[in-house]
Amino acid sequence: MAEMIQLSVFRYDPEKGGKPFMQAYEVPVSGPGMKLLDALNYIKWQLDGTLTYRRSCGEGVCGSDGLNINGINGLACITPIAGLKQPIHVRPLPSMEVIRDLVVDMDHFFDQYRQIQPWLQAVTPMPEHERLQSPAQRAELDGQYECILCGCCTTACPSWWWNGDRFLGPATLLQANRWIVDSRDEAMGDRLDQLEDAFRLYRCHQIMNCMEACPKELNPTAAIDNIKRKILARKS
């Protein structure tokens, strides 16, 4: 007999109505490297075809399967089963509207991303060759550009839970900073103007849940801090 693991998974079926509930499943361990996504796939493919969740790459780069795992946000595909307290409580990302089971509505999250105009803005005519950027300038982008937009940080942020309609949240602010620190971007002033707002930026109270939650080990709090410093610097 293979070793079994116990899971308790959040279920909600909008067609049947009723309250959400936690459902227990038992899954055999497939190997030492088994990830939570393997367990969810086992449930879906062997036990219960109605279990609903998102997944794509299965290796932590696409950002589809952000979930709340034993109370901590993370990606199912890179979270090892070993070391998780059982039964493993699997819930959708907190504070999000649930569409079904573990699938949440990401529209508002992506709308906020769009709001910061996350694209390179420059008025200088394009050079014939690439825009030059020194390795040191490029190193400024490390820890910024790797974000996969999974939403784990933003949905772990209490400030975003309270004021998510107006506070942009850590993922979006990290991306705002990604353009502010890019030596090729020429719109820093406009970007700071847009962010200098009691809600959009300053609802960050450095709780630092975002940093704890990020599956790519990025640090949105530091990025937000950098934006605040940039705003402060131009006042003096």
Binding site: E15, K44, W45, V61, R100, Q137, D185
Partner: protein, 598 residues
């Protein structure tokens, strides 16, 4: 009176509809949206979840930032890498356009790694040479660390946000709407809401990516199910060269995630169970940077002859710790992370266990170098299919022929995404209005969903997941790195039998709201169609070329097989046809087939 004979289908009008939000679809959309057209991207996932995001090593362009380079050398390498099955006009077009497209990506904001002089960092990759194979290793692959695909996909998404492209997210394309005038649009299913949508368009672009999930062990995402190719087959069109699936030499053993060729480009190498650098035996000049098919076959042979590693001797080792922690963390951070997570190995200290793993679909929907889908007309002459386009891994232009070079897939998606956009612009000049459609054209698409939903809860139905696993196992066992007549013939029989069983499969989920089991069933329809044509095409090709390696026909046979396979399904039977390789480039002399040595 409405346009359609139902009110259950929402009818949209766009200038262009693109199916797929990977790099190819996004680049094409950008070209058209920036020109002021109403462009819709229909994608079955959220944007940035597409598999372009997983590309690691880089994108080829003869920028010459590290070592002097020329697009003709790039062209030669690509043709040689394709084992001469690539169409040389398309390859010339791609290699000439590469520097322009990579600089454009840089201008759009891709965070490329940099050299000391501030230009884009380029690294050596497999199958690359200078001076037509005579000048040693080239350094042609432009990289953003080892997250180049992620960097490019996010940048293209950002540019599409700027350009105002319409995204229909988590919509599944069910059926192409075609009539005597060509392709008029597509029927789609809104996964989240469970509603039907008909997108009418003056041009439809298939940019749906590869079909890696026909195999059991693959580096591909769960979503790589060959949807575009299968939609084309449904519409009565053939797909091209599907027997050529690339096995990447270095997938993490037993689990699949890819370890980029950049590891070997930066100086890593492979070791067998005797601790020998065996690639030097197979490819004395290129060594570990020989073409992918060559390296994969070498690994398979080492394992077959008992020189594998581990308790089961079923993999080899990729050593890179000698590169030093600093270089690994700066240039290969993602590999460090993946090896730690999926192999439990700290690659700054220990080698990574690897084995050849299904990685890339060279075949696809036949197109010309403008992205137009082409097919043989009734008169036997090849012509473009009006209003239908295909790009990226879903398409077969063919720039990869029988074997793709590393770094050419990211290049293909941007080059032909843009080229296709420009070709669609020409069509839009002459097609100003949406023609009326047959009022019942929505029915076939809707029936696909309703047919599956009717099976929900049926007793003794086969599980979707079970049929899929059996299909993947057959493909893995019968059509792997090395192939033989007897094994493949049995494989064809078994896949045909399994395809017949698919109609006995049943859903357990009858819901209309976010029914991912339904999506998996629709994807299985697609995978099964492509598995059938892959199997038939592979069995028929009695030679070894690129990724198609046969024990019983070990040599390339240019007299009989320097031609593309075309495989379609008519009256539920696989039909094979062939067409010549375009050996004539656009402006330079042809590269005739030569013996391939690395």
């Amino acid at each position: 009176m409405g346009y359609l004979s139902t009110d259950k289908v929402k009818h949209h009008f766009h200038d262009v509809v693109i199916i797929g939000s990977g790099g190819a679809g996004m680049r094409c959309a950008l070209q058209l949206a920036d020109a002021g057209h109403r462009v819709a991207i229909i994608t079955k996932v959220l944007p940035t979840r597409s598999h372009t995001v997983a590309a690691q090593g880089g994108i080829n362009a003869s920028l010459g930032n590290v070592l002097s380079d020329h697009w003709q050398w790039h062209m030669y390498d690509t043709i040689k890498g394709s084992d001469y099955l690539g169409d040389q006009d398309a390859i010339e077009y791609m290699c000439r356009a590469a520097p322009l497209l990579v600089r454009e990506l840089e201008h759009q904001g891709v965070p490329f790694s940099r050299l000391e002089d501030g230009t884009v960092y380029q690294r050596p990759f497999g199958g690359q040479s200078r001076e037509f194979g005579e000048g040693g290793q080239a350094s042609r692959t432009c990289a953003a660390a080892d997250r180049t695909g992620h960097a490019i996909l996010h940048t293209l998404y950002q540019q599409n946000l700027r350009a105002g492209t319409h995204f229909y997210q988590e919509f599944f394309a069910l059926d192409l709407i075609t009539d005597e005038n060509g392709c008029q649009g597509v029927m789609a299913w809104d996964i989240a809401k469970g509603e039907y949508h008909l997108f009418q368009a003056k041009a439809v672009v298939l940019a749906t990516g590869g079909a890696g999930r026909v195999f059991k062990m693959t580096t591909n995402a769960h979503i790589c199910t060959g949807d575009g190719g299968a939609l084309a087959v449904r519409a009565g069109l053939p797909v091209e060269d599907m027997e050529f699936f690339q096995f990447h030499p270095t997938g993490i053993a037993d689990v699949g995630p890819l370890i980029t060729e950049a590891v070997r480009g930066e100086g890593g190498y492979l070791l067998n169970g005797d601790n020998e650098r065996f690639m030097l035996r197979y490819a004395p000049t290129a060594g570990d940077l020989a073409s992918r098919d060559v390296v994969s076959r070498a690994i398979a042979l080492e394992i077959r002859e008992g020189r594998g590693c581990g308790p089961n001797k079923d993999h080899v080792l990729l050593k890179l710790d000698h590169l030093g922690t600093e270089l690994i963390l700066a240039k290969l951070p993602n590999i460090h992370e993946l090896a730690l997570r999926f192999a439990g190995v700290d690659c700054t200290k220990e080698p990574i266990p690897v084995q050849p793993t299904m990685h890339y679909t060279m075949g696809g929907i036949p197109t010309n170098r403008f992205g137009e889908v082409v097919s043989k007309g009734a008169d036997g002459v090849e012509a473009s299919y009006p209003g239908l386009y295909a790009i990226g891994e879903a398409a077969c232009v063919s720039v990869h022929g029988a074997n793709r070079l590393g770094g050419n897939s990211l290049l293909e998606i941007v080059v032909f995404g843009r080229a296709c956009g420009n070709q669609v612009l020409k069509r839009l000049r002459h097609h100003r209005y949406h023609p009326p459609l047959a009022p019942d054209c929505w029915q076939a698409g809707m029936e696909r969903v309703e047919g599956w939903l009717r099976t929900a809860g049926k007793q003794d139905g086969l599980k979707i997941a079970e049929v899929r696993l059996r299909m993947q196992t057959i493909m893995q066992d019968h059509f792997s790195v090395y192939r033989t007549e007897a094994v493949m013939a049995e494989g064809v029989e078994r896949i045909e039998a399994l395809a017949a069983e698919l109609e006995h499969a049943a859903l357990s989920d009858g819901s209309r709201i976010f029914n991912t089991e339904l999506v998996e069933a629709l994807e299985l329809d697609h995978l099964m169609a492509l598995a059938r044509v892959t199997a038939a095409g592979a069995l028929a090709r009695t030679e070894s070329r690129g990724a198609h390696a046969r024990d019983d026909y070990p040599e390339r046979d240019d007299a009989d097989w320097l031609r593309h396979t075309l495989a379609g399904i008519r009256d539920n039977k696989v039909e094979l046809d062939y067409k010549p390789v375009r050996m004539q480039p656009m402006t330079v002399p042809s590269f005739p087939p030569r013996k391939r040595v690395y």
